[in-house]
């Protein structure tokens, strides 16, 4: 196993507030002050295990079932936001969002709330399991078939959209395949479509002729094509890159990629087991990984709400995230959200600022600036602390103190 993935043995005192907050932030969506205290007391292993659990209240979980008929994307967005902020299944929701960004599918074109919900449930159920099953599942997902024109991919009239994206964006990345692979893979996927809201395989539309994909020859169908892609060495690296960028830092090194890809393969593509190794590793807790990402709108709002214990209606939070540039279920394209510095455009920063000030105003009666600073920025940069002291001096300025902490760039370094 790579040196950096070696398990982290925190020295006495090293499992401190910043470390615990870092884990709860990256593997979940931040923590309430109580959860942070609990994690500190419970230790790294117990906290990590807790992150894998799903304790979402069943009424919340099931609340969307009664509302799918309403055909409202806003309510679906609100439901997911509610799941995230409730914090009952931190890592599962985190991975669902990571996979949503990777297999980016937009309601703009799909125009069917039930299908988007179905895909979301697939990502949630399969997201911490065998990646191979996830990839096979997403290839047959009705929303994906609508999104990437799988339904019009037929023998004699192939549609290359899905094949191209699966090779370029989902599984391999550029440089590991050529145009011919795209065309041949498209032929392999032909015949997959939907009837109503269900997946169907229409043999009469399937091109079962001989194909050459990634150097292999055979009468491959969609399932076989996906297996060939999974067998390609670049695939595990691609997935490793996704995980490293989501949990550690942008631009992972060669060593890190190789290491995590190896772990993924060694665990038989089990994402959950791989994450257990990654989230327990020296790499994860190294300075390089701390505060190395810029918070996405959903991450920012969820972390802020949870830290403040604010009770904002989920629909409002979802709308604010959209105004900040991340509309759940509506990524701008199949490439997902660019992320990183691209989150910060002038109009979006203003939306971010306004959302956080509103949260601060709402939370002010029950929280004060010092608490919030200690909870969300346990490193407590001295300059910020001094500013909070100044703001907290005025009797009515607690919202300002809290807002100051939340709008400080330091908070947005996730």
């Amino acid at each position: 196993m790579s040196a950096t993935l070696r398990a982290w043995r925190p020295a006495l005192g090293a499992w401190d507030r910043p470390a615990a907050a870092h884990l709860l932030r990256r593997a979940g969506f931040g923590a309430s002050p109580e959860e942070l205290e609990q994690a500190l007391g419970a230790g790294l292993d117990a906290t990590l295990e807790r992150l894998f659990e799903d304790r979402t209240p069943p009424e919340l979980d099931g609340s969307i079932q009664a509302l799918l008929a309403a055909e409202s994307l806003e309510l679906l967005q609100a439901w997911w936001m509610a799941r995230i902020v409730a914090g009952g299944a931190p890592l599962r929701e985190r991975m669902t969002l990571v996979w949503h960004d990777l297999f980016a599918t937009s309601h703009e074109k799909v125009q069917d709330v039930r299908l988007m919900h179905g895909q979301n449930e697939l990502l949630r159920r399969a997201g911490l399991g065998d990646f191979r099953l996830l990839l096979h599942g997403i290839a047959r997902d009705p929303a994906m078939l609508v999104w990437l024109d799988g339904r019009s991919n037929r023998k004699g009239h192939p549609n290359e959209n899905f094949a191209r994206e699966v090779l370029e964006l989902f599984a391999l990345g550029p440089g590991h395949y050529d145009e011919r692979d795209v065309q041949e893979a498209a032929r392999a996927f032909s015949g997959w479509g939907t009837e109503g809201r269900s997946f169907v395989h229409a043999p009469e539309h399937h091109d079962d002729g001989p194909k050459t994909i990634l150097g292999h020859q055979g009468r491959f169908d969609g399932v076989a094509a996906l297996d060939l892609i999974l067998a390609h060495p670049a695939c595990a690296r691609h997935v490793a890159r996704v995980l490293l960028e989501a949990f550690v830092a942008p631009m992972p090194t060669e060593e890190e990629l190789e290491g995590l890809a190896g772990t993924l393969l060694a665990s038989d593509w089990d994402v959950g087991r791989t994450l257990r190794v990654l989230l327990r590793s020296e790499l994860f807790f190294a300075p390089r990984a701390r505060r190395a990402r810029i918070a996405a709108p959903v991450e920012c709002l969820a972390a802020a709400s949870r830290a403040l214990g604010a009770r904002v209606p989920p629909r409002t939070l979802a709308r604010r995230a959209s105004a900040m540039g991340q509309a759940l279920f509506r990524p701008p394209s199949v490439k997902g959200w660019e992320g990183g510095r691209a989150w910060i455009h002038a109009g979006h920063w203003i939306a971010r600022h306004n959302a956080l000030v509103e949260l601060a105003r709402q939370a002010a009666p029950s929280r004060n600036g010092f608490e919030v600073l200690r909870d969300v920025l346990p490193e407590e940069p001295p300059a910020l602390r001094a500013a909070v002291e100044r703001l907290a001096r005025e009797p009515s300025s607690d919202p300002a103190a809290i807002a100051f902490v939340l709008t400080a760039p330091e908070f947005h370094l996730y």
Binding site: A292, I294, G325, R341, I344, H345, A346, G347, H348, W349, I350, H353, N354, V357, E358, A360, R361, A383, L384, A387, R390, L391, E394, S396, S397, P399, A400, A403, F404, T407, A408, P409, E410, H412, L413
Partner: protein
């Protein structure tokens, strides 16, 4: 009683007037003298060019439009052969001042009669492909390289038009003046500005975030300062006029955005065109006239070029419902700019129609090229001879 948006804006104004004093380390940049502005007003639905700029000397006009043809005596003369629709009377002072240019027959080869596709063509400046960025967005990218800030604004509700989509720059939506208002709390701005300008040697993402946040707050403050200017000009009470007024306030108030995009819909007049078209043109003319007057009042009329276009014109012959169907080329209006106004380009010949439509004689990309280089001062990117604006 919760704070109203208006109060927030006013609070912010008070604070932001102090902000320049606090931000000594970073002075608020003033726009360069003579910095030019482009306003693109899209007439969505396809404006009927033949009834906007009427070729009243051609008999075919009356033959093709038995009920829709406009009487010559009611038109406003543009030149000997053409007159403007009666409802465009409000634009006469603009024309008198030499600031109204009419370019005949603007379109593109192989015209598409689908709203979606034709809009895509005009927005992306690519009649053949499926562009992922728009001509204004690409210009905004280049402007941002030089000077940062908010080079483009979408003065509309709803989705960002393809025209404004760039590779890097994101154009915020500003349908009304409070859309980009900054929420304020007492004392917050002062501490924040201090924290954002602290010189602690931060690099990487932290430095980027600080700079980006500063730029956003600056922009919001400048926006409020610009909006603080009231207008003496008398605008009519239409949504279009309100948006043009907002743009005028930003331009004369010194805000640094150089590209604005807005739309006026309802031009898809398939049936009973006469009354609807007249009403739309009147709304358009009155709003634009007030806009021009406002700019002149604020000393900015030489800096602003307004381009008024639709996604296509309409067929020469009227249909059976006293309306017209989707066509091809149509005239484009330009207000302001370097020229002295008047008709330009080749006038349509109703005896030489192609497929019942007016064929294009000026490629719209030639106008774009002229705007991009001669007006906005950017390098040429469109592979076409620019239209002579002078």
């Amino acid at each position: 009683m919760p704070l109203t948006r208006r109060q927030l804006v006013l609070d912010g104004l008070r604070v932001s007037l102090l902000a320049p004093l606090a931000l000594r380390a970073r002075p608020v940049p003033a726009p360069e003298a003579g910095e030019r502005v482009l306003v693109v007003l899209q007439l969505t639905g396809g404006n009927d060019g033949l009834n906007t700029v009427v070729p009243h000397r051609q008999d075919a006009y009356y033959r093709l439009r038995p009920t829709l043809a406009l009487q010559r005596s009611k038109l406003h003369a543009l030149d000997d052969d053409h007159g403007l629709h009666p409802a465009l009377g409000a634009l006469l002072p603009v024309r008198e001042a030499g600031r109204l240019t009419v370019v005949h027959g603007v379109g593109y080869p192989d015209p598409d009669r689908s709203h979606f596709r034709s809009l895509e063509v005009w927005h992306g400046a690519d009649p053949r492909g499926t562009p992922r960025t728009g001509w204004l967005g690409r210009m905004a990218d280049r402007i941002a390289e030089r000077s940062g800030g908010m080079p483009a604004l979408c003065v509309d509700d709803g989705e960002l038009p393809l025209a404004l989509v760039g590779e890097r720059v994101f154009a915020p939506a500003l349908p009304d003046e409070s859309s980009l208002a900054l929420a304020v709390l007492p004392g917050l701005a002062g501490e924040r500005d201090g924290a954002l300008t602290v010189a602690d040697g931060a690099t990487g993402d932290l430095a980027f975030l600080r700079a980006a946040a500063r730029a956003s707050y600056d922009a919001a403050a400048r926006l409020e300062q610009a909006l603080a200017r009231g207008t003496a000009a008398d605008y009519p009470d239409s949504p279009l006029a309100r948006r043009l007024r907002l743009i005028a306030r930003l331009v004369t108030g010194g805000f640094d955005t150089r590209l604005f995009h807005l739309t006026l819909g309802g031009f898809d007049t398939h049936a009973h065109q006469a009354a609807a078209h007249a009403a739309l043109l009147e709304t358009l003319a009155r709003a634009l006239a007030a806009f021009e007057a406002d700019l002149a009042e604020g000393g900015a009329e030489g800096r602003v070029l307004t381009l008024v276009h639709g996604e296509f014109g309409r067929r020469a012959a009227e249909n059976g419902s006293r309306g017209t169907d989707h066509g091809a080329a149509a005239p484009v209006l330009l207000l302001g700019g370097p020229g002295t106004g008047g008709p330009r380009g080749t006038a349509p010949d109703l005896d030489a129609l192609v497929d019942g439509d007016v064929p294009y004689t000026t490629d719209f990309r030639a106008l774009y090229a002229a705007i991009e280089h001669d007006w906005m001062g950017l390098e040429r990117t469109l592979p076409i001879e620019p239209f002579p604006l002078r």
